[in-house]
Subunit: 359 residues, 2 copies
């Protein structure tokens, strides 16, 4: 690391330390679960100080832990999506793919999951069987075992049918150094496909929008895409995330903040389906903040970016991949969109919760 | 293993296979979460066939998994206890101790936990802070880190304040062979203290019972008790469980069923507080089915049982330990109580759910 670069990262870290958000809300509201600014405040202002430890501190999707000589990754997520079944998937499939993907984007190879179910009294057995089978199929597709589990039942009105918490364990890859501190100006931002499909599918399934077009959730396991990226980009692979809750807008804001560099996006290169654009326009939200459940965002060194892009495009689930932006020196800590019309606009952190219970 | 013994275990396993319960209920009700017969049917009739794999098959509290050369244990539990705070503890403390204990009784040394929170919109921040701090303190006491987490918020009326799912990872002990297949006639059943305290504390805290006496939950980390048992009983330590949901009655019925041997209990040796007896009498339930959250049940070879008992009694949380029964050839697959009055009665699996949302 050059001396100027090192100073820059130290400055960014120091600035983050100084501006650790205080959590001042008297009650928890829906925005605290949305993955945006309010969630950050809850996590960084309240949870992180209490649970302070080196594994949790980087706040990535998976924690890296040592286990004898080996390193492993651990990740957990609760799934509370409503409705339980939606076009393109269901909560059971989401619960497996989501946790497998959090491990995969940390560079780890997922091996085992646990599954904890909180069932509302009165749930039809058929609905439960559907989700158990969806989990089983998704686990088989992802090459992981569901090794242990738990089932609790709560009274009617004390849940919403079914909540699932999955926790995954994977073998970490010691060759990789994926981190916001690894990115450099000039690095390219690769997106594996169209954005906002999952969130739009859920909204349409809820009947919140009067749209005739059907959008399918993009829920899928990302391990094949991660594998080709590792193979083609090698040590030029700097950073990976799956932009779920909070969307690409949130992931890139965190990257800009934590790296101390700027992120430039090219609107014309960002793949978004017309129907997703339409749904977002009706709601007055930017599709960049809408959740994805089968998309990969990767930062790769410029020299290998084209080869990596071609490899991703040749892989199932990566056909519509695109280079959507790059890392720049300026504007430091911010995300700047270059619009189709030649203008620019800032992409800030998500405020509030326009799309609750999306995952 | 002697040939007769081997045949006996094989017969028991074969019998279990033949009588795998079918899950025929059209809807999920509270009994499916109670840890008794209905929960067994749900798990063995529905979940186990779908998730079929070698780690899950033994259905112990923790799965044993291989990770390169090492073996590790993984365990998960959702906590839905109501009220969130009760005499002697709270949901956050329970969520850490419970999962740490599931690892400890599998013989593993707990190292890391994940924590996933499902928060109901409107929960007071102070209540959340109380649980975060309880988790942090419990984790420090247990010597584990909370390495990763997740927070979701659901709308008012879609949860009951706060649900917590913890998943734990521990290093397995290759020297131990803890299993229902390891027990032999003559082995003693050691119980680390009074039974039913946690369940009674919750019931009294809910105001379901008009009792003046206060009972404190026994929630505590069991690793110190497990350590002294390992040290004193060595390879004579055959089986350990923490009798939580479903109580000692359920654990011992499962042990009898899976080992093919009988379990004899001596009522006069079973430590139960008068107030817990009183609460159970009002409810018409047997304290043997009431949940404990800081008690250890161990089966130890007869030659080392007295030394192990003394060691447990000299350890914090084991002062009231007792040998409550033993393994016998007959009645095969059943639990028989020898009462104070010289009679006997069968202790069957728990049916229904007299005590919902206890953990």
């Amino acid at each position: 690391m050059s001396e100027g670069r090192e100073q820059r990262v130290l400055d960014a870290l120091e600035q983050n330390r100084r501006r650790t958000p205080k959590f001042t809300a008297p009650r928890i509201d829906m925005s605290h679960g949305a993955g945006g600014k309010a969630t950050s405040k809850l996590i960084e202002g309240l949870l992180l100080p209490a649970f302070d430890n080196p594994a949790l501190a980087p706040l990535s999707d998976a924690a890296l832990l040592s286990f004898g000589d080996a390193q492993f990754a651990m990740s957990t997520d609760s799934y509370v999506v409503r409705p339980l079944v939606f076009p393109g998937g269901s909560i059971g499939e989401l619960a497996v793919n989501g946790t497998v993907n959090d491990l995969a984007v940390s560079g780890a190879t997922p091996i085992s999951l646990s599954a904890a179910l909180i069932v509302e009294e009165g749930l039809e057995t058929g609905a439960l069987v559907h989700e158990i089978e969806a989990m089983s199929t998704a686990a088989r597709n992802a090459g992981v075992s569901i090794a242990t589990g738990d089932t609790k039942v709560v009274e009617r009105g004390k849940a919403d049918g079914l909540y699932i918490t999955t926790t995954g364990i994977g073998v970490a890859d010691p060759e990789l150094n994926l981190s916001s501190a690894s990115v450099r100006p000039g690095d390219k931002i690769l997106c594996s496909g169209t954005l906002g499909d999952h969130g739009a599918a859920i909204l349409i399934a809820r009947g919140d929008l009067e749209l005739e077009a059907e959008v399918l959730s993009d829920t899928r396991v990302l391990t094949p895409l991660v594998r080709v990226l590792k193979e083609t980009a090698g040590s030029g692979l700097r950073f990976m995330r799956d932009p779920t809750r909070g969307g690409v807008g949130t992931v890139l804001n965190e990257l800009a903040r934590d790296s101390g560099y700027g992120v430039a996006l090219w609107e014309g290169n960002i793949p978004i389906r017309d129907v997703v654009h339409g749904a977002c326009e009706i709601l007055g939200i930017d599709p960049l903040y809408v959740a994805n459940e089968g998309k990969l965002l990767a930062v790769v060194a410029p020299e290998g970016a084209d080869v990596a892009l071609e490899a991703v495009r040749s892989t199932d689930g990566g056909e519509e991949a695109s280079i959507i932006g790059e890392i720049r020196e300026e504007p430091a800590g911010m995300v700047l969109m270059h619009t189709r019309f030649g203008g620019t606009r800032m992409i800030d952190m998500l405020v509030g919760d326009p799309l609750p219970r999306i995952c």
